[in-house]
């Protein structure tokens, strides 16, 4: 009985995976940002803006502060100093209104199936979507009724990608999106990011290698240790 109640959100309306719908314009402004972790200053004096249609790659060595920077941009942790602002249609707004985040943690419960997990997140985000179609988009259709605990690391990444698409937010913040991904998965992610940017979205990606996405110019932010 509980299961059907969870599934209810999945059934009603087909096909509202608004890949073609235009996104609200938004902006991210960062100026003179400084942040530290565990008492150790990682980044200082960072100024940066991200506008619709941009892909920003954040690179740098392990432990240089890529993930910490992304968490600050998401509004999950506070910077030491500096200004950080998010806008939607030129009006200041909360980070949660514009940002979708894919961190190191997948946030899926081992006892829920992929379909239930996505239905839950759709429920939380108050989105009415066709979960089966979404699973198909990320190549997990055949795994829809498999508990998340039985998915491989790469499959969980695909599922968290589905959650990002589901959120319909304009700014995607992704920490190592291609980690544990096979070649198909990498192509899928790059294709989805490309499509997202083509309709006016943006993405900030932290990884070791700059993503190569056809037809897209990538801005680069490479963090280096102060000498």
């Amino acid at each position: 009985m509980l299961k059907t109640r969870m599934d209810k959100t999945a059934s009603p309306r087909p096909e509202t995976l608004n890949v073609s719908r235009a996104l609200a314009t938004f902006g991210l402004d960062v100026s003179d940002l400084a942040l530290s972790r565990g008492g150790h200053r990682l980044i200082s004096g960072l100024t940066l803006t991200v506008a619709p249609g941009e892909l920003l790659w954040v690179g740098g060595d392990n432990g240089i502060g890529k993930s910490s920077l992304l968490r600050v941009i998401c509004g999950l942790s506070r910077p030491d100093e500096g200004y950080l602002g998010w806008t939607q249609n030129s009006v200041p707004c909360a980070a949660t209104e514009v940002i979708a985040y894919q961190g190191h943690l997948d946030a899926f419960k081992p006892n829920l199936t992929s379909r239930e997990a996505l239905s839950f997140w759709a429920d939380v985000m108050d989105k009415d979507i066709d979960v089966t179609h979404l699973l198909e988009t990320v190549g997990l259709k055949s795994r829809a009724d498999v508990p998340c605990g039985h998915l491989s690391a790469g499959q969980k990444r695909r599922l968290s990608l589905a959650r990002i698409i589901l959120s319909a937010k304009p700014l995607w913040i992704m920490d190592e999106p291609t980690a544990a991904m096979d070649a198909d998965g990498v192509a899928l992610i790059h294709g989805l990011i490309g499509a997202h940017i083509a309709r006016g979205g943006s993405a900030i990606i932290a990884s070791h290698q700059s993503p190569v996405i056809a037809g897209l110019r990538t801005r680069q932010l490479v963090l280096e240790a102060a000498s």
């Binding site: 509980l2 949660t96 209104e97 961190g103 943690l105 997948d106 006892n111 839950f120 959650r163 959120s167």
Partner: protein, 218 residues
């Protein structure tokens, strides 16, 4: 918020009985108390309500640690917050889920346990009523302690130290209420005190839990 409560119930259902830890502990504790007291009817009648209250407190204390630790460590909390839920609504959802999943089964078993202990019907009713009125308080202090200690994972003893001082007034008035019920019925002042304690607990515990969650996400 509703989605989170539904998910918690579904997860409990799938957990292979792990959510019944509290209620199993409750029953075992009562059983041991009966054995330790020698099973003599007069003593059980006198101390029965105390055993039930102690068993309930320990059973809930045992479950506080699990309220937020999983959702924090697997990244669910940060995704919930980024999905636009405030940490306060996450707290309230967890508070409701805790009342349903942990205290609910104990409450349902109360009459059975009362009969087992040979308590009179008025005492059982008084017991049920006092537990009912104290439930919001137990759950509110539970989510507060759980949120404060979420980073420490399950099984930390600190969570017991953090929540114990808040639970003592609930225990005192809860026990007094059972006795007073047999004399004054529902109008006994202890019930009003318990209701008041629950309101205070909600006013203190829920905002504190929400603030602790926000701090833990950093």
């Amino acid at each position: 918020m509703g989605a989170l409560i539904k998910r918690d119930i579904l997860l409990a259902w799938r957990s292979g009985g792990a959510w019944l830890l509290g209620v199993i502990f409750f029953l075992m504790f009562i059983t041991f108390c009966v054995i330790a007291a020698g099973g003599e009817a007069p003593q059980l009648d006198a101390y029965g309500p105390a055993y039930i209250w102690l068993a309930l407190l320990f059973a809930t204390l045992l479950s506080f640690g699990a309220i937020f630790s999983d959702d924090l460590s697997d990244g669910t909390l940060e995704q919930l917050v980024l999905s636009g839920l405030t940490s306060f609504s996450v707290t309230v959802a967890k508070w409701i889920a805790f009342m349903i999943l942990t205290i609910g089964p104990v409450f349902i078993l109360l009459p059975v346990v009362g009969v087992m202990l040979g308590l009179s019907v008025p005492r059982i009713s008084g017991q049920a009523l006092s537990v009912l009125l104290a439930t919001p308080a137990l759950a509110a202090y539970g989510v507060m302690a759980g949120a404060l200690m979420a980073r420490r994972g399950k099984g930390g003893f600190l969570i017991i130290l953090v929540s114990a001082p808040f639970l003592i007034p609930v225990l005192i008035f809860g026990l007094a209420a059972v006795d007073s019920y047999t004399r004054f019925g529902i109008s006994a002042y202890e019930f009003r005190a318990l209701g008041g304690l629950s309101l205070i607990a909600m006013a203190i515990g829920l905002p504190a839990a929400s603030a602790a969650l926000t701090a833990n996400l950093e």
